[in-house]
């Protein structure tokens, strides 16, 4: 930054300490932001990682309409009215996304879906949804990240690449920091990375375990067996690509540490086996509690996807993929999750909040979203392929930069945001509250959906 600008902005510069970066699930809340209030940009984001810097410093107020219907500019109220009508008219609407917004906004959405008798699904379903399902099957010993910093002398990453996806995970929580019972930081910890690829993350490892692609489950199963005292099979290297000595060594290290932790990523949930992979890992961590204190935690991705999970859980009882078409919440991944309902061409309206399925979803799902069988409504902070394809598109301000609120870190710790500067665009909370009121009124008028005394 040139000094001339600096001099100019002395009056209008604002320093925000302990701001929270909402880009990834780490939600680092120790960022010091320097804001140029005249230009409405963040000029410095001290302590932020490369992703965080990109998140803060690239944020500019774009000159674009707040609301559009079929590409034509309209008022916000007109757009909300159209969206409400579309949703209330739909027989099988779906609301998807929610991970990149505050909990206060997320809390408005479940009542909307309750009123329209639709389905609500969050980006969890294509992220750690299988871990959620595994959690329902086997439970999970877990912890907050501070416990890892203070106690963990054995840290394992499985099928994740935090060096690129959660850059400060090592330095802030899990590897290098000194903690209460870890006075020497990394020297006091054993760091193990299990992955099929030798990623950037692997460089941090004391032990790098390169497992054959698609053999995570088998390796986990062998480890579980070994923990329970079953002989490690002779052909373990043939099966998993990991030598027998290494497996035995790992099991010993795991059983004898004082406080062990495993973080796991999409390498487990997105590959063949899905929820059983993460389930096997959670079960391994559970088994190890027989010998020592052992915990596991999924390394969650987007800013507030954990919050979305929590909000949907407390309001409906289920974490994602919840359907209300019979007047009460039902849960069945594979049946009510977005990818499935879109791929099968079932949804006749889709409201996408702070997410971009048109860029990320499987092709058949994208085709249905773009087709005229499905009314597409987009509420997002940025222009994305989804917002461009949408029938109703509403642009909102960005959480954590323009609006405050609550987000949940990947370990379920709630954190309040400190916005940097305001935006001409309305917040998600404002838009969704208006929509909720409108939809509620319409639903009462139309007496919908039918609550039924039967259930299946």
């Amino acid at each position: 930054m040139s000094s001339a600008i600096k001099d100019n902005s002395i009056v209008n510069e604002k320093i925000i300490e302990d701001a929270t970066c909402t880009f990834c699930g780490c939600c680092c809340d120790d960022i010091t932001l320097t804001v140029d209030l005249d230009k409405k940009v963040i000029t410095k984001a001290k302590d932020a990682c490369v992703l965080g810097k990109a998140w803060f410093l690239n944020h500019v107020i774009e000159d674009k309409p707040i609301a559009r219907i079929d590409g034509k500019e309209v008022t916000l109220d007109e757009a909300i009215e159209e969206a409400a009508q579309n949703l209330i008219d739909a027989k099988f609407p779906i609301v998807y996304g929610l991970s990149d917004t505050i909990c206060e906004a997320q809390r408005q959405v479940v009542p909307i879906v309750d009123d329209i008798g639709g389905t609500i699904d969050t980006t969890t379903s294509v992220c750690h949804g299988p871990s959620g399902m595994a959690f329902q099957g086997v439970g999970e010993p877990s912890m907050t990240l501070g416990e890892v910093k203070n106690r963990a002398d054995f840290v394992m990453y499985w099928g994740g690449n935090p060096a690129e996806a959660h850059p400060r995970h090592f330095s802030r929580y899990a590897v290098t920091p000194k903690g209460m019972f870890i006075p020497n930081g990394k020297d006091d910890r054993t760091v193990v990375i299990v992955d099929v690829r030798q990623t950037k993350t692997a460089g941090v490892a004391d032990i790098f375990v390169q497992v054959k692609p698609g053999k995570d489950f088998e390796l986990l199963w062998i480890l579980r067996g070994a923990v329970k005292g079953i002989e490690v099979p002779e052909n373990v290297e043939e099966i998993t690509g990991v030598s027998r000595e290494l497996v035995i060594d790992l099991v010993n290290k795991m059983k004898n540490c004082k406080y062990g932790v495993i973080f796991f990523g999409m390498g487990l949930t997105m590959t063949r086996g899905r929820h059983f992979n993460s389930g096997a890992l959670m079960a391994l961590a559970t088994d190890l509690n027989e010998f020592t204190h052992f915990v596991a935690k999924p390394a969650r991705g987007h800013g507030n996807v954990t919050g979305a999970d929590n909000v949907v859980s407390w309001q409906t009882g289920y974490p994602f993929g919840v359907n209300f078409s019979r007047g009460y919440p039902r849960f069945n991944p594979g049946e009510f999750t977005t990818v499935d309902t879109l791929t099968r061409g079932e949804a006749d309206a889709a409201m996408i909040i702070a997410s971009d399925p048109v860029a990320n979803f499987p092709k058949p799902a994208i085709d249905h979203l773009k087709s005229d069988k499905c009314k597409l409504i987009s509420i997002d902070t940025k222009q994305t392929p989804t917002s461009e394809a949408a029938h109703v598109s509403i642009q909102t301000s960005t959480y954590g930069i323009n609006t405050g609120g609550t987000v949940y870190r990947m370990d379920d710790v709630p954190i309040s945001l400190r916005p940097a500067f305001d935006s001409p665009f309305p917040g998600d909370l404002e838009v969704l509250t208006k929509l909720r009121k409108r939809v509620n009124k319409l639903a009462k008028e139309k007496n919908r959906p039918y609550a039924t005394s039967k259930y299946i």
Binding site: Q136, W221, R224, I230, N235, I239, P333, G334, P449, T452
Partner: protein
């Protein structure tokens, strides 16, 4: 009674009322007024089906019904004959009776079934006879025959039921099996019987066995001879006569659980 699909639903149609327990008591005119759920709207059965008298003394349903869910739910007796493909949750929580499908079936066939029989001549989807998410037991009785192929998680958490598959299976067949028997003629996916406690999984083809299973012996279980004859008499599954007197490798597992389950793999 015969129901014939005349209009294809646009969104999933939930038809738990299409079961002999509900319809057999009613006259055709009343049947047309039976409520179904088309997405979030209540509709009449007549909006989608033509109702007529059937020559047979059973409930006949005809059409391509891959979007229709929950037919035969909570069924306790009687018989349903389905001509055409059928959607998810067929025979959900049924306690008795018989459902025959001449066609393919969707996912989640017979979850929480505790009795009765389901016979599908075509293929099946995922999670057949599987426990709903979070539950440790799914099916607790009954018999399911699928002549074609099925996908993943067949018999997840099943206790006490028999499943026969004529074709191939997906991954995780019999995962967390509590008890009961699964017999498949085709190839199985990976990780069969992971976490099984008790029960039997019988396979006629190559099988990738998890490292936590241990080999016991090669033998020829007598009950299998009876079982194969039963299958030959009851179904159209074509199989090699040599299975009947064949020898099987017996593996026990899953050692991580109770190690009381068995995998029987055909040898010769």
């Amino acid at each position: 009674m015969k129901l014939k699909l005349h209009t294809q639903p646009e969104v999933p149609l939930e038809a738990e009322s299409i079961t002999p327990d509900v319809l057999n008591k009613l006259k055709p005119k009343e049947v047309e007024k039976v409520k179904l759920f088309h997405g979030n709207r209540e509709v009449n059965l007549g909006d989608f089906f033509n109702v007529s008298k059937s020559k047979l003394d059973l409930l006949e349903v005809e059409g391509d019904m891959f979007k229709i869910k929950y037919i035969g739910a909570n069924m306790s007796s009687g018989e349903i004959l389905i001509n055409g493909n059928i959607g998810p949750h067929l025979g959900s929580a049924m306690t008795g009776g018989f459902i025959k499908v001449n066609g393919d079936a969707g996912d989640w066939i017979a979850p929480e079934m505790s009795g009765g029989r389901i016979h599908i001549t075509g293929n099946g989807g995922h999670c057949i006879a599987s426990a709903y998410r979070g539950a440790s037991t799914g099916v607790s009785g009954g018999e399911i025959i699928i002549e074609g192929n099925v996908k993943n998680e067949l018999g997840h958490g099943m206790s006490n039921a028999t499943i026969i598959v004529g074709g191939m299976c997906g991954d995780f067949t019999g995962v967390n099996l509590n008890s009961g028997t699964i017999l498949t003629f085709g190839e199985m996916g990976i990780r069969t019987g992971a976490g099984m406690k008790r029960g039997t999984i019988i396979c006629m083809d190559n099988l990738e066995i998890l490292p936590t299973f241990s080999y016991d012996c090669l033998y020829s279980p007598i009950y299998l001879k009876l079982f194969f004859r039963y299958i030959r008499d009851k179904t159209k599954i074509k199989f090699d006569e040599k299975f009947i007197d064949g020898k099987f490798h017996r593996w026990s597992g899953d050692a991580i659980e109770m190690n009381r389950g068995e995998l029987l793999v055909f040898s010769a």
